[in-house]
């Protein structure tokens, strides 16, 4: 018989306000096996932990029931308390009377009654708990960073600087991500390329870093410390180690009408291309959809001009398999498609552009060499209207836009407006906004400079319609502060499109078994206390794949993710989860049902000798669970027809005891 102690936490008033904690502690005293029951204000505090430790000593407790917050919050805290006092940590059960009781029920009598039932169920389970010891597994000392934008680059650099090997996988032919496309960065206005490209070079030259550009992750297996990842290196038809990046082939390629995606399709490139001058790796790539040689077998000009002999039309996709200890998702973002926003005439007029397109138009390496010209007729725009929150904060019709605030638009719009006024003082600049949100160091000062020093006209209100008329764009909007309707004849309209997670993130999340929110941003293990970890052990989050962020925030999160990875890779052994499947050899008849449902191939069959009652031995085939591989889902326990398979920590008897206690 267990000697169980019950500890009811007040959690200040979080629990005590709607649950009579004293009554719960009192009621539990009469439960079989409970030898001690008490309540305390903060059970997780040092004083609370000491109280538990003393009670364990004094009453010779063998099992603990903590009635407190969710086990997702403090299960480990209390397991550690138990371990410190010499009880096996798996002899602790938590009754979740905060998130699943006091916070969702307002009536104190009802809350108390439910808390008692939940505590009883936990007591019933603890009666059947057995001490468990986790197995240990090795840690592969290499990390994988998926995504080569500023988030991925910074994470990789920080991991590499700590002395660990790290690989970056980037789908594009070059690393750099969105930041490489930007012109200037707020609020300091230093040029993005000037601060990013040295980092790109640094990461490429770091001997601990390997970059798989033009590659994607296709398969992820294993678990924390021991992931096995398949990476598809797409054929770029250029030998990466031979190409010198001279660019001669890109000039000579006769196919000139390939939309340049780096400039968002605002100009053209060749079928063989280097995305931009500072690309890393600086290697040409052939687009097979446009290359005449690959399509029809005619041309071959690039091979002829390449003095290095790097062109290889027969190159095939290559699959690389590598082992990793930790994986960082840094898949980044994209502006949303504006197809559904007809009112802004984005698809009707070339002169309605997104902010990222504007960024390319003002970039010295962009399609206009940094001269602000409108795309339709290459004239200087005299009146520019910026529209904020296009697709952001759309609560009314979420199918059209996003409910969240994209966070960076207010600042970059202020930057665009300011830079325009600075370079072209004769240009009138209007900004339509719902709110201007500028929390951040030196952000509000920056925005006020745009208004006060540079004379940007900020108008509170939304634009209702943009009508292309001749070579003008008629912008109809409302000024909510002056309460009047406005009609502005603009030459260029710039839409601050909402940002959304990259489309590849959803697929990746499935491979990583990492969870996502309804907007396809990765969810963090805890929104406040574990912001760079995914709930799945060994998976970390960096940059905008977790939520909208500006560059400083992305870089700090990248560093935080790297430090978590380093902390993991620094360990030689990892303690596993002891709640794994276990087969009772005497009951197992070797039917293979469990083997078939196991997603980890953790179950194998062994021939085992059994002594029979008549003193003969008989060899039988029985299931054997590899505890290092088993993740403890329990699929096999239900598949087992003879009831031989059970899950430690969640044994059938334990769950049934909980069911009984609840239904009593």
């Amino acid at each position: 018989m267990q000697r169980i102690g019950v500890f009811v936490c007040w959690c200040g008033s979080n629990i005590a306000a709607t649950v009579d904690v004293k009554a719960v502690a009192e009621a539990l005293k009469s439960e079989p096996g409970v030898v001690f029951s008490t309540d305390y204000q903060y059970m997780c505090s040092q004083a609370g932990q000491d109280l538990i430790k003393e009670a364990i000593k004094e009453h010779k407790l063998t099992g603990l029931v903590i009635c407190s917050c969710s086990p997702r919050m403090h299960e480990n805290t209390f397991r550690k308390v138990a371990a410190d006092s010499g009880i096996n940590p798996y002899m602790v059960e938590i009754a979740n009377i905060r998130e699943q009781c006091s916070w969702v029920h307002k009536d104190k009598a009802i809350g108390t009654e439910k808390a008692i039932i939940l505590a009883r169920a936990a007591v019933a389970k603890v009666h059947l708990n057995t001490p468990l010891t986790p197995g240990e597994s090795e840690v592969t000392k290499r990390a994988l960073v998926i995504g080569g934008g500023i988030a991925g680059i910074q994470t990789a650099l920080d991991i590499a600087d700590a002395g660990y090997k790290v690989d970056i996988v980037e789908t594009k032919p070059t690393i750099g991500g969105k930041m490489a496309q930007l012109d200037k960065t707020f609020p300091t206005l230093d040029c993005a390329a000037c601060i990013l490209t040295p980092k790109m070079v640094e990461v490429a030259q770091n001997e601990n870093v390997r970059i798989f550009s033009y590659s994607e992750v296709t398969e992820v297996g294993g678990f924390v410390g021991n992931f096995t990842v398949k990476i598809k290196k797409k054929a770029r038809y250029v030998k990466e180690d031979v190409c010198t990046g001279c660019g001669l082939c890109t000039e000579k390629c006769p196919m000139k009408k390939v939309p340049n995606d780096f400039n968002l399709g605002m100009n053209n490139k060749g079928a063989i291309y280097i995305p931009f001058a500072q690309a890393v790796p600086k290697v040409a790539t052939i687009d097979p959809n446009y290359c005449n040689m690959l399509k029809n077998g005619k041309c071959g000009l690039c091979a002829k001009v390449c003095t290095a002999g790097a062109i290889d039309y027969t190159q095939k996709d290559e699959i690389i398999e590598e082992k990793y200890g930790a994986i960082v998702a840094a898949t980044g973002y994209n502006p949303i498609s504006l197809d559904k926003f007809d009112e802004f005439a984005y698809n009707q007029s070339k002169d309605v552009i997104t902010s990222l397109e504007f960024e390319r138009l003002t970039n010295a390496a962009g399609p206009t060499n940094g001269v602000l010209l409108r795309p339709s007729d290459l004239k200087h725009p005299k009146t520019i209207v910026f529209v904020q929150c296009v697709g952001s904060r759309c609560s009314a019709d979420a199918s059209k836009g996003k409910e969240y605030c994209s966070k960076i638009c207010c600042m970059y719009t202020a930057k665009h407006a300011m830079l325009t006024r600075d370079k072209y003082p004769d240009t009138d600049v209007y900004v339509f906004y719902i709110d201007v949100r500028t929390p951040g160091k030196n952000f509000d000062e920056f925005y006020r400079r745009a208004v006060e020093e540079y004379g940007v006209h900020y108008i509170k209100g939304m634009v209702g319609k943009v009508i292309p008329e001749g070579d003008k764009l008629i912008v109809q909007g409302s000024d909510l502060l002056d309460n009047k309707q406005l009609k502005i004849e603009a030459d260029l309209v710039v839409l601050a499109a909402a940002i959304e997670p990259d489309k590849s993130a959803r697929n990746l999340a499935t491979m990583l078994t990492a969870s996502m929110d309804t907007n396809d941003f990765f969810t963090e293990a805890h929104p406040k206390l574990r912001p760079v970890e995914s709930p799945t052990a060994g998976i970390f989050l960096s940059g905008t794949c977790q939520g909208p962020k500006d560059i400083p925030e992305t870089v700090s999160q990248a560093g935080a993710a790297a430090s978590k990875v380093i902390g993991l890779l620094a360990k030689d052994k990892l303690k596993g989860n002891p709640c794994v499947a276990h087969s009772d050899e005497l009951m197992c008849n070797g039917c293979s049902s469990c083997e078939r449902v196991c997603p980890y191939k953790a179950i194998t069959y062994v021939d085992k000798e059994f002594r029979m009652p008549d003193r003969t031995t008989k060899v039988r085939r029985v299931a054997f669970v590899n505890e290092a591989v088993c993740q403890g889902c329990g699929a096999c326990t239900v598949a087992c027809p003879s009831g031989a398979m059970d899950l430690k920590g969640f044994k059938s008897k334990q769950i049934m005891a909980e069911v009984d206690a609840i239904c009593k």
């Binding site: 969702v104 169920a121 078994t513 709930p535 239900v638 609840i662």
Partner: protein, 144 residues
């Protein structure tokens, strides 16, 4: 408040990774749902043996709901697919035994769907309450 209002006993099995976290989120956001819902944490929805559900009905539960990660999002890759198939069979068998289909349910609730968890529980409770007590499988010998 009516004193004699029938409150069905409802057992909710929630997987540790999505739905249990979703239930926690409902708590964090103070989204109320009936107190007669009692949650049992399981590592994965596929850990739920049909025996547990039968046991719940035998011991007097009026409704059983199983919550897991959305298809494709299972922490263990494929657990919820097993759940979906197993429960389709079990629930139709239960219906044959006289346990109405409305007393049982499988619902996918992600860790971000606190509101869905709360709404689902409210709705399921109402649905079960409308059917009244479950006498069909209840074993009175288990009552003390």
């Amino acid at each position: 408040m009516q004193v004699n209002e029938f409150k069905p006993k409802i057992v909710a099995f929630c997987c540790n990774w999505c739905s249990y976290a979703g239930a926690d989120l409902a708590g964090n956001n103070r989204l109320n749902y009936p107190d007669n819902v009692k949650i049992i944490r399981v590592p994965c929805s596929c850990r739920v043996n049909p025996m547990f559900i039968l046991r719940a009905f035998q011991r007097g539960a009026d409704g059983v709901i199983l919550c897991g990660c959305h298809p494709g999002d299972c922490h263990y890759t494929s657990g919820n697919y097993y759940t979906r198939r197993r429960m389709a069979l079990l629930f139709s068998m239960l219906e044959y035994l006289g346990i109405e289909k409305e007393r049982t349910r499988v619902e996918w609730v992600s860790a971000a769907e606190g509101a869905k968890f709360s709404a689902t529980m409210n709705e399921f409770c109402e649905q079960v309450a409308a059917l009244g007590e479950n006498k069909r499988l209840e074993d009175l010998r288990c009552k003390q």
